[in-house]
Symmetry: C2
Subunit: 346 residues, 2 copies
């Protein structure tokens, strides 16, 4: 009993009006007498009519869907999803923000990849998280003239009037914030653990760290481990640090799971956190709150980043000016036990 779903024409016929009138009453365009509207709505209701979003999309050349390109999905190993908290908070907030803009949110992996779903291209615009150096997706979107917004700058592209619009993740300020915090808490041999993806977060943090180390006159110690290794990556990084020089008394690890691994290895080597070594993670997660000691972090506030990204993209789609966040800073330091040596331990 699969009866064809009613079209605008069925409604028009039943209401005794033209399709234009039906269209107008639903889109709000043109002018339709209130009484006519009533009749149309009644007819639509009787028939169970819902405008066909796809047909509208074809006609308006706009579907009302934006795509979120999450690089984490490209691993195609969901059980290895890196930084679940960041991903979940970002995706969740993006979905909610899209909703508020009347847009749907599609979750896609890199559409330039081999397994791209054709439907990905149906989106009106793209949000690209963590663009990397020479990002092929950014190149594709640019050349195809498809609107997009990146979260974080595209590394290697000088900021200019026509560099891709992006949401500022403030990696420079936040790196300094974390390092200064470690310094102020007394650390003097501060090491940095980054991931290996060539995105702004990793690259800028490393650069700022180098500069900061020179300024503070400390010897930089830096280790890069793949994000996907999770705790194990942190363990390796810590092992490397311990075996290749004087033990650090402060570690800034950009990924939350790396930080967990670092703390584990430090502890196993008899170093107490925070008494002997201070640790800060560069990304917040529930697991950092649950760990003992609890681990300090930079909370990137993915919710806010996502909101801004969606708003910026929606504005672009409507040719509205981009919202200006002025000096509304995003990202903050969350001090927990791992970097507060004086504080009472439970």
């Amino acid at each position: 009993m699969t009866t064809r779903r009613p079209t605008i024409r069925d409604v028009a016929r039943r209401a005794g009006v033209s399709v234009t009138t039906v269209s107008h009453t639903f889109t709000g365009n043109g002018t339709v007498a209130p009484t006519t509207q009533q009749r149309v709505r009644a007819a639509a209701h009787d028939l169970g009519y819902r405008p066909d979003v796809i047909a509208q999309g074809l006609r308006r050349n706009r579907l009302g869907v934006i795509a979120l390109v999450a690089r984490q999905l490209d691993a195609l190993r969901p059980d290895l999803l890196v930084d679940v908290d960041y991903f979940a908070r970002f995706a969740g907030a993006a979905a909610v923000a899209s909703l508020a803009e009347g847009l749907g949110l599609m979750l896609v992996s890199d559409p330039t990849g081999p397994r791209a779903a054709g439907a990905a291209l149906a989106s009106d615009g793209f949000i690209v998280t963590e663009p990397v150096t020479d990002d092929p997706l950014v190149a594709m979107l640019t050349s195809a003239g498809i609107p997009f917004v990146t979260v974080g700058e595209v590394p290697g592209v000088p900021i200019g009037p026509d560099s891709p619009p992006h949401v500022d993740i403030e990696s420079g300020r936040l790196t300094t914030l974390a390092l200064d915090h470690l310094w102020d808490a007394g650390a003097r041999r501060i090491a940095l653990v980054t991931g290996t993806d060539r995105n702004e977060w990793n690259l800028r943090s490393a650069a700022v760290y180098q500069r900061w180390a020179r300024y503070r006159r400390i010897t930089p110690a830096m280790v890069h481990v793949p994000e996907q290794l999770d705790d194990e990556g942190g363990r390796r990084a810590a092992t490397t640090l311990l075996s290749s020089g004087p033990a650090p008394d402060g570690v800034y690890a950009l990924t939350s799971n790396h930080a967990l691994g670092v703390v584990a290895v430090l502890t196993e080597h008899g170093l107490r956190v925070p008494d002997d070594v201070l640790v800060v993670a560069g990304s917040d997660a529930e697991s950092l709150r649950a760990a003992r000691p609890t681990i300090s972090s930079i909370d990137l506030q993915p919710d806010e980043l996502a909101r801004r990204a969606v708003e910026a993209l929606a504005a672009r789609l409507d040719d509205r000016p981009l919202p200006d966040h002025g000096d509304q800073r995003v990202g903050r330091l969350v001090v927990r036990q791992s970097s507060a040596p004086g504080a009472p331990q439970p």
Copy 2:
């Protein structure tokens, strides 16, 4: 310089063929001579032609997009996203699985809600996580004849040949698994902490618990707290339990954050976990691994659930028979320190 994007007609003209031929070479329908195909593809490449997914969607009456209705999004407070790990793993895996089926995955909140984005209805089908008693969305989808799959049964709907197709979350087996585990580890005053959403997980667990308690001849102690309260909910639950009878020596808390709150309060009251009280969480999360003691859990394996849901929905969309998972069980017990009294503590 916004030059109109090339259409199938442009390609046809440039290749000196009809639009039919172009369509055929791209869809694989009909038969096109290899040499002609070459010419068509060359022309398409030169022009930078990509088939318009929306136009295809209109024509085929199928967009290639499915929607994931995550109830967690309905709170519209992404910072309060409950069970981030479950959400992230499910959404991530669903996106990946969709990709493998050539489908896009749209993240939407309940489209029957007031703020529904019209685009949500563009989807070919729906995955509804955690349907609740008298679910309005299920009702809407059913009456509209839109294909959907639920994750977990719709409570209150007797299983029958035409009850909505669902992915089995095995709440009955898993509840028994957790309770038996606590029992085997020596607990005799085992309490249950559930959420308040009226979904299968909460309802079935409670029912099975009651039955199990009768069978084991123990006095049931059950507390229900809203999922959204997170740790605080767990704290309240534990406080209630401690103040309303003999202290439990085993707690099964369905939500990971509730479990964390429970452990915190128990500890504050001088009860040692696992020595005095065993604790198991009904949902796995990174934070449970990071906590001290580490907390045992039922890992629902959202990745697998998501994969099955997507496959089932895709099969339905193609009128293929539903995949049968036989006795391939999903969901498992992860034993950690909180329920292993003998094990060495770090």
